[in-house]
């Protein structure tokens, strides 16, 4: 069984069909990118998977659990961690506190109202390890709100990593970054994914980024999956070429 399975997933807003009968799967260990032109339904699909919105029709299974009606925080507890399209951090906390709070969410004693030194120590250890992996140790004590854009994006990834997720969901990880920042961020991410052990689902429309990072691709067009496979075969697919990639390939 795949880690994440979507079956016949449909989301309608009034008369508009944002996601139409999508069936796809994410296997353990793959880095899958969902691509598609603006309005293809990428963000809606992402919201369905993370639990921000509930599907009109269809089922979502994650790690063997049916999560279609589960609230967002419940899915996180099963091992989904996500980053946002517009960076979402705790701006007044230090980078270290950000990752610590993220790691704490995986601790069964995360709600402890008194004491909790052990919880903090364990969370800090995981958080620091995540900062290290993304090369952010040198800014660990700085308030997150004062970091550069690039570092803020990476910090968000570090927060997700600190949760030791089974599935890392990334919504446009290079959105809003300058060309240089994008290049740097992609380098770091590529290194991270190359290390293995991570399962990633990312939504992105910068094709260069996608081809650099993804091992599998799903192409959405008007809410429907029009192609699925490894990057090379998708790139070669005439339907995809016609619908989206245009002159790129």
């Amino acid at each position: 069984m795949s880690l994440l399975e979507l079956q016949g997933l449909t989301k309608r807003y009034g008369g508009i069909v944002a996601v139409n009968d999508v069936t796809m799967a994410v296997e353990e260990g793959e880095v899958r990118a969902v691509i598609g032109p603006n309005g293809a339904g990428k963000t809606s699909l992402f919201h369905l998977i993370t639990g921000v919105v509930k599907p009109t029709v269809g089922e979502i299974h994650f790690g063997g659990h049916r999560v279609s009606a589960m609230p967002a925080f419940g899915r996180c507890q099963l091992g989904m961690s996500r980053t946002f399209q517009i960076t979402a951090l705790f701006p007044e906390m230090s980078a270290r506190e950000n990752t610590r709070l993220a790691a704490q969410a995986r601790d069964p004693k995360r709600w402890l109202p008194l004491g909790g030194g052990g919880v903090f120590a364990e969370a800090a250890r995981r958080g620091d390890a995540a900062l290290e992996r993304l090369g952010l140790t040198h800014v660990a004590e700085r308030p997150a709100g004062l970091l550069s854009h690039g570092d803020q994006r990476l910090l968000e990834v570090a927060m997700a990593l600190a949760q030791q997720p089974r599935l890392l969901l990334m919504d446009e990880p290079t959105q809003g970054l300058s060309v240089e920042e994008t290049a740097q961020a992609v380098d770091v991410l590529a290194g991270l994914f190359a290390g293995g052990g991570l399962t990633v689902l990312l939504v992105e429309h910068d094709m260069e980024v996608v081809f650099r990072l993804a091992t599998k691709m799903t192409v959405l067009h008007r809410g429907t999956v029009i192609a699925d496979g490894d990057p090379d075969s998708v790139k070669a697919d005439p339907v995809v070429q016609d619908a989206y990639l245009g002159g790129y390939a």
């Binding site: 609230p71 967002a72 925080f73 996180c76 705790f90």
Partner: protein, 306 residues
Amino acid sequence: MRMLLAVALLLALLPFGLPPYAMTLLTEALIMGLFAMSLDLMVGYARLISFGHAAAYGLGAYTCGNILLHTDIPLPFAVLLAGLFSGIVAIGVAWVCTQATGVSFSMLTLAFAQLLYAVAFKWTPVTGASDGLAGIPRSPGPFGVTWFATKSGFYYLTMACLIGGFLFARALVRSPFGAVLRGIRENEAKTLSLGYNTRLYKIAVVAASYMLGGLAGALYAPFAGFANTELLFWLLSGQVLIMVIVGGTGTLVGPILGAVFFLFVQQQLSTYTDSWALFFGVIFIGFVLFAPEGILGLARRWTRAH
């Protein structure tokens, strides 16, 4: 910690140097301080701006008043029980109010408090309606000890509640639970997406806040010897919110200072002039313009400069 000990020692010694009226005022200031600090748990740590915190105070006061009037439960236990009761009621209140966020949350808390106010006006057997409950005794005990009923004994009881409440609140905000609250304060959506069921945390903090606020109200009833509907009125909710802001939100100590400041300044001003409200208003606006971080922030800035 050393600072806390010093303050506790100072508070403990004050009864030996202060005239009785100042003791009375100080006792009330400490009660108000506890009340304001309880609200800071919500406002300062989870950005839950309550416009109806008088509900906690009034619940505590009426509960404690009824316990003392109708049972033989000793004063200290009655106070604790009333605080606990207020906290339990809060779970229901919070469950409803946390359906909403932002201004709507504030308004729901206001609606709830005003509903309680309206109920208190009609539920004569329990609340005494518009007359309130008068002649609330300071029941002796435990073990027949009557010391808590004396002026200084009651002061020490209040002090113990304040310090205990403060230690509890401080442990709470420094715990893993408190870390999540700070997350909610800074970015609730992100906290939710990290896998925290934020609504439960909010309900829990409202309950803790109501419990301490109820404790303050529970102290007030035997302190003044009466409880009436004013203790549930929105004006008190507004005042305590101002105390928290004047003192400095998210600091626990600040709101206590804010309450003490509020009470003493009002007391002094109103002795000198009928127009005390005018000066009071000017002071608030002055704080916003010149000391946006409140009394505590002002004090910190001052100590840094010197």
